[in-house]
Amino acid sequence: MTMSLFSLSKKMKKLKIQKKPAQQHDLPAKALQSSLQEQIDYIKEKTGNSIDVVIRKLQLGDGKSAAVVFVEGIADSKAINDFLIESIMNKHPVHNSQPIFEILLKEVVALGDVKEITDWDNLYLSLMSGESIILVDGAQKALSASTRGGEHRSIQEPGSQVTVRGPRDGFTESIRTNTALIRRRIQNPDLWLENMKIGSVTKTDVSMMYIKGIAKDEIVEEVRNRLKRIEIDSILESGYIEQLIEDQPFTTFPTLYHTERPDMVAGNLLEGRVAIIVNGTPFVLIAPAVFIQFFQSVEDYYGRADIATALRFLRILIFFISIIAPAAYIAVTTFHQEMIPTQLLVAIAAQRETVPFPALVEALIMEVSFEILREAGVRMPRAVGSAISIVGALVIGQAAVQAGIVSPAMVIIVAITAIANFATPAFAVAISARLIRFGFMFAAATFGFYGIILGVIILAVHLCSLRSFGVPYLTPMAPLIPANLGDTIVRLPMWAQKKRPRLFSDNKENRVGDNQKPQPSQSRGMVNSALEKGDQDEQN
């Protein structure tokens, strides 16, 4: 019985697999008809008479009828009016000897990117991406003119990565705007852009961007292959791509970096990384990503090196606090009471006297209620958000303590953990720390510090096992690459950071020239003469 069920489900799977390609090739890859009416009817049938598909019929100069087809909203209607419809209507072609398409192409259509289309597949692809299609009666081909446009969000300051110093522009939902933002920063023909359409239904534009000659060819090839093997119906955000191309799906740690900041993408491209830009989302993926990258902020490079180094140390500390703080509290109060000074122990013991739960339960109550609060804060409409935070602060901060359900020390621990978590620069790592924390809490409740150390070892082993596009996750610490250590936890000044990351860049050239360390001018003559001049002026 079970066997038959099993085989049945197997058969079902097979059936599904067989069905899929049939669905995919629903669109006929056939050539265009020659009659204009037939063509228009076909488009109408295919788009289900959707009212945003506009079909404008026209009369050409030589009496031939033609039509301009575009989708309202995603095409730039002003460009269509001014450079397509108006110029076609005004044009009266003189020499009939030339094929009508060549005249249109050379003399009529005043738009940059125009190409010929001969089959329906490409026609729909162009139409649905915002281009305008020009159909002429009797021709078995069509022209597509690039009129992409329509309304989209303007460039704004990115909400997820705010800096004090640094550019204020952030990516938008439009892929062309995004690539332009990067190109404006790297004005170099070696910045290459490869486009592909992913998603059998959505046909989403996905571009990979890299600097030829800096990015390692193997990695570029790897990214390209991974993008090409994606078979999925839709791509609505770069997160879809991330989940389909990452090296290790079973980890809480991100192996691709995502950012809203063009300056960050530019910086990473210059280090030899590859950017993956997806239409419809301001989040651009960067591959390969290494662990230490998630503790770096673009601002580190804009500010002073010593301060950036100190901040990076702080961020590593923050990461450990957000993972270990509640676990350490549990371990100390249930296993290692001898480790804290007597006075502190007495203070904590006094608080715990009235708490009816073991430390783990107490910690779980607080952590879970805080997570609920945070989730509520993120998802609530803005107007209600402040009410939530007030209620939460009162309930968690005061009432719970006064009711004797949790101790004030626990509130402090949860608060410091939460703040530490918010202070982590990359959200992707912060959220994974949030999850790991609970594992550490259970380890601490079962084995004390021994459990925490076991957890840390497991974590370290896991991090060592991770790869991002073949690059070890802990590069350049493990494997150790001394030449690249200048931009890890420490950030050396720009003039001292000469080499690109070795594992993802083939380029051996120095990034900065020799003797770039700034210093005061050799002679003090300039200052002295200025002083003398000042003295003379005063005497006069």
Binding site: T333, P358, P408
Partner: protein, 405 residues
């Protein structure tokens, strides 16, 4: 198959790592009785009586819980009787709702009677052997008192009496220098060393002991009963044999090189205690050697300090005068040290570790005389003291008021 094997292997390794760890002894804070001090006496029947000072956390660090923490006493005391220390400790569980927790026991009080009767090393053995008990716990002797009384007195300012005792010792050692705080570890190290005998501070109670056990004791400006440091107890072979105090005690602390700061009153032009030398730091070196079969110990003291008080007309701006004052100070320090050595020689107990010093310089000779050191050689030791006192400053004033008149 290979994969399953590997999985099994790693499971076994992880399992053993977890189960053999020994960290399974989970104990909630609310199940612990935190012992702050342990007092050990001996009763008439010759059994040990242990008095445990247990902290009532709610009454020490009340804060926002239960409305201020001053209703009850900060500590409670439980006594247990037994033929051994471990037995008495275990027997207290009949009177206590929690598990005794010794990791924060910082004070061990041993009664004078007990210390005189038997070697304290038999008391320290179970304490050192215990995994929880800290070897940094401070040892004091209840001078003329029962150890249980010392543990029971409630104290002001430092709410936990054990802390009061430890901190009093620590600060008096630093600022006056007639007492030393000796940890269990140091005591045991000294007890097992053949060339050194133990010296431990005593503690005493002033006033009415019974009143000192009540909360009223802490609710008055002048407590009816107070704990204070006593003399220095000198041990021989682990048994208490004598008490020394005053300048003799300070001389001993000098020789142990534990003196930090003190105030030494000196004579000036026939007026006693005319000036006070505020010692701020000192270094004492003890060197021993054998000469013609007799041990000679040379002691070198380097002292540095300020003039703290000048009650006679004296010109302190004159360097020559200061040099003379230094000479007087040197004489005074030398006198104290000599007194200390004489006393110890009388007691035939080498609390200064002259034997150890000799052991270091002359190990071969030492082996021959080690057994007879305390009784035969130590009382005959010739000492040679060199004191170098230095006046760093004369305080904020130069001359005393009288000079200018």
């Amino acid at each position: 198959m290979n994969k399953i094997n590997r999985l099994m292997c790693s499971l076994v390794i992880i399992g053993t790592a977890l189960l053999l760890s020994g960290c399974w002894s989970k104990k909630e804070l609310t199940d612990l009785a935190i012992v702050a001090a342990l007092g050990i006496d001996k009763n008439e029947e010759g059994r040990y009586v242990g008095t445990l000072q247990i902290i009532n956390p709610g009454n020490v660090a009340g804060g926002m819980q239960g409305g201020g923490g001053t209703q009850g006493p900060p500590v409670s005391v439980i006594t247990g009787t037994g033929d051994s220390i471990v037995e008495l400790s275990r027997r207290t569980s009949r009177k206590l709702s929690r598990r005794l927790y010794y990791a924060h026991t910082n004070l061990v009080v041993i009664s004078e009677e007990l210390a005189k009767e038997e070697s304290i090393s038999s008391i320290l053995d179970p304490l050192e052997r215990d995994a929880e008990f800290r070897s940094t716990a401070i040892i004091v002797i209840a001078q003329g008192e029962k150890a249980s009384d010392i543990v029971k007195i409630l104290t002001l300012i430092d709410k936990i009496p054990a802390n009061k005792v430890i901190k009093t010792l620590k600060f008096t050692e630093r600022t006056w220098g007639e007492n030393i705080s000796v940890s269990m570890q140091e005591a045991i190290k000294t007890l097992v060393s053949p060339g050194k005998e133990l010296a431990v501070s005593g503690f005493r109670i002033s006033g009415d002991v019974d009143k000192g056990k009540k909360m009223e004791n802490t609710q008055q400006t002048e407590p009816s009963s107070l704990l204070y440091t006593g003399s220095l107890a000198i041990f021989k072979k682990g048994k208490l044999i004598a008490w020394i105090d005053g300048e003799t005690a300070r001389g001993s602390v000098f020789l142990l090189d534990k003196l930090n700061a003190s105030a030494i009153a000196v004579k000036w032009e026939r007026k006693d205690e005319a000036m006070v030398y505020e010692l701020i730091r000192q270094k004492t070196k003890v060197m021993a050697k054998m000469e013609k079969g007799k041990p000679i110990v040379s002691i070198k003291v380097q002292a540095e300090g300020n003039i703290g008080e000048a009650r006679v007309p004296i010109d302190l701006t004159n360097p020559d005068v200061l040099l003379k004052v230094e000479k007087v100070i040197e004489k005074e320090i030398k006198k104290e040290i000599t007194m200390a050595v004489k006393q110890a020689q009388k007691n035939r107990s080498d609390i200064f570790g002259f034997g150890e010093a000799l052991h270091r310089t002359n190990p071969k000779e030492w082996k021959k005389i080690a057994a007879k050191w305390n009784d035969i050689y130590f009382p005959e030791v010739k000492i040679d003291i060199v004191v170098d006192a230095f006046i760093r400053r004369t305080g904020l004033r130069n001359n005393p008021h009288q000079v200018n008149k």
